[in-house]
Amino acid sequence: MKIRIDAEKCQGHNRCFALAPELVDVDDYGSAFVLNDGIVPDDLTDKAQLIIDNCPEFAIEEVAE
């Protein structure tokens, strides 16, 4: 699984960072970015789905690997 964050949509809610700091990080302004080029380890796919489903800006999506 691979995810990406749309930087234009992200408004820095930080829900993803709170839920899955293994997959994303945030800068000083709250803008989120993916770790490890967005590649999700197999044991964290549930968490990846969780941050996709909880982003208030619909900014996180699964992409083709």
Binding site: Q11, G12, H13, N14, F17, A18, L19, V26, D27, D28, Y29, G30, L50, D53, N54, C55, P56, E57, F58
Partner: protein
């Protein structure tokens, strides 16, 4: 349960004459939103001298929040002051970035965001935890307290005073001032202007003294940021920002903490489950934020804005009904049920778009610490007199009296 808002003309038809200050809306707006959503999801009113729209669908609120700057934030309070009062700004709230549109919104927001980033707010955790323990020490042996007055209301003003470097003894004054500006003053322009001016005078003195003699604190730091747009008017800019930091985080956060205590004190099953399993705190608190979202903001159209079947005409307002959006069945399964283990929860209690609450990480930290500390000390508790619970509503909804027994 009763509402603390003054009596208003009864609402005959919610679709054409809605009133968010109506006692039924203040104590439990969910059935009203549900009716509106199924028939007329964009309600309107001509009360208070201005046409105002109330969206009730999640997708509509999301879309409206992104119509910027045509739907302006220059006057974000839900009741606009009459223009014939001869006062310098109609909103009573000059507090960028919340009361600004781009480009001012962008650079003032960038000034404050770093202090509210997730890792930055962690530096306030210990202070908040110690504070919560001290508050509980004050009433735990008596077996009862007012969860709103003695606990929830005490926390945010002290955390903010601590963060901004203000005298902690002023915390009770801050509470009075903010309620004057945002709660009691919503209906009474004289009260609103009075407290706006008290806050303004206090902040001008605090900021000016730091401009002349910088201290090792946050406001001094803001004054020295290298922001080209601020040059030559540093005191004015930082007073505006301090105004936001002081008023935006007080009754909002205490309402969230109070609502969470209210829920757990009236739903023993949820309380027992949370007390037995603290891994549920993250989802439970997000669910409290969704279900009891405290904040409604306003936008004012700067030009005619077509939206679906309607046109929001220039000068009309739209309420950003984040609480109502968060109860939309099309966006949340079992939207009218509290599920403390809800994992799919794309709520917008902190708004959405460019005006997303800048202090949301601090608010979440305060709520997390307040609830965890309460549950650690007082796992068995209940609301002792449901009829004694009072709710404030309008701009910020939450319990103002909350009799608890434990």
């Amino acid at each position: 349960m009763t509402a603390t808002t003054p009596a208003t003309e009864p609402v005959e038809d919610w679709t054409t004459d809605y009133d968010i200050f109506d006692a039924d809306y203040v104590t439990d707006p969910t059935p009203i939103w549900k009716d509106l959503r199924s028939g007329c999801p964009m309600a309107r009113t001509d009360r208070r001298g201005i046409r105002s729209w109330l969206p009730t669908k999640y997708d509509d609120v999301q879309a409206l929040a992104k119509i910027v700057p045509e739907l302006s934030s220059k006057d974000p309070l839900v009741v606009t002051l009459p223009t014939d009062m001869g006062i310098d700004n109609s909103s009573g709230l000059s507090a960028p970035p919340i009361s600004a549109d781009p480009p001012e919104q962008v650079w003032t927001r960038r000034m404050i965001l770093p202090a509210f980033a997730p890792r930055a707010v962690e530096s306030h955790r210990q202070f908040t935890e110690d504070l919560c323990h001290r508050l509980i020490d004050g009433f735990v042996d008596s077996g009862e307290c007012d969860g709103a007055v003695d606990y929830a209301q005490q926390i945010p003003p002290r955390v903010i005073a601590h963060m901004l470097g203000f005298d902690p003894e002023k915390a009770d004054d801050f509470t009075t001032w903010v309620r004057g500006a945002l709660e009691l003053g919503l209906f009474d322009p004289v009260i609103r202007v009075k407290y706006r001016d008290i806050i303004q005078t206090f902040l001008v003195n605090e900021v000016r003294s730091r401009w002349e003699n910088p201290r090792d604190d946050y406001l001094s730091e803001l004054l020295t940021l290298d922001v080209p747009e601020m040059k030559g008017r540093e005191v004015q800019v930082v007073v505006g920002i301090a105004n936001l930091l002081l008023i935006a985080g007080i009754d909002t956060t205490w309402s969230s903490i109070g609502s969470a205590l209210f829920h757990m004190g009236t739903h023993p099953q949820d309380r027992r489950r949370l007390a037995a399993d603290d891994t549920l705190f993250p989802t439970a608190l997000e669910e409290m934020l969704r279900f009891y979202s405290p904040v409604t903001m306003a936008r004012m159209a700067q030009e005619d804005v077509p939206f679906g079947d309607i046109v929001i005409k220039s000068g009309e307002t739209v309420l950003m009904n984040f609480p109502g959006a968060n109860h939309d069945e099309d966006a949340f399964e079992d939207a009218d049920k509290v599920l403390i283990d809800r994992t799919r929860n794309r709520h917008i209690a902190f708004g959405s778009g460019i005006h997303r609450c800048a202090g949301s990480n601090l608010a979440r930290l305060e709520m997390d610490v307040a609830m965890r500390t309460w549950f650690a000390r007082i796992p068995e508790f209940e609301v002792s007199d449901p009829n004694g619970v009072t709710w404030a509503g309008g701009q910020v909804r939450g319990p103002r009296r909350l009799p608890m027994r434990f």
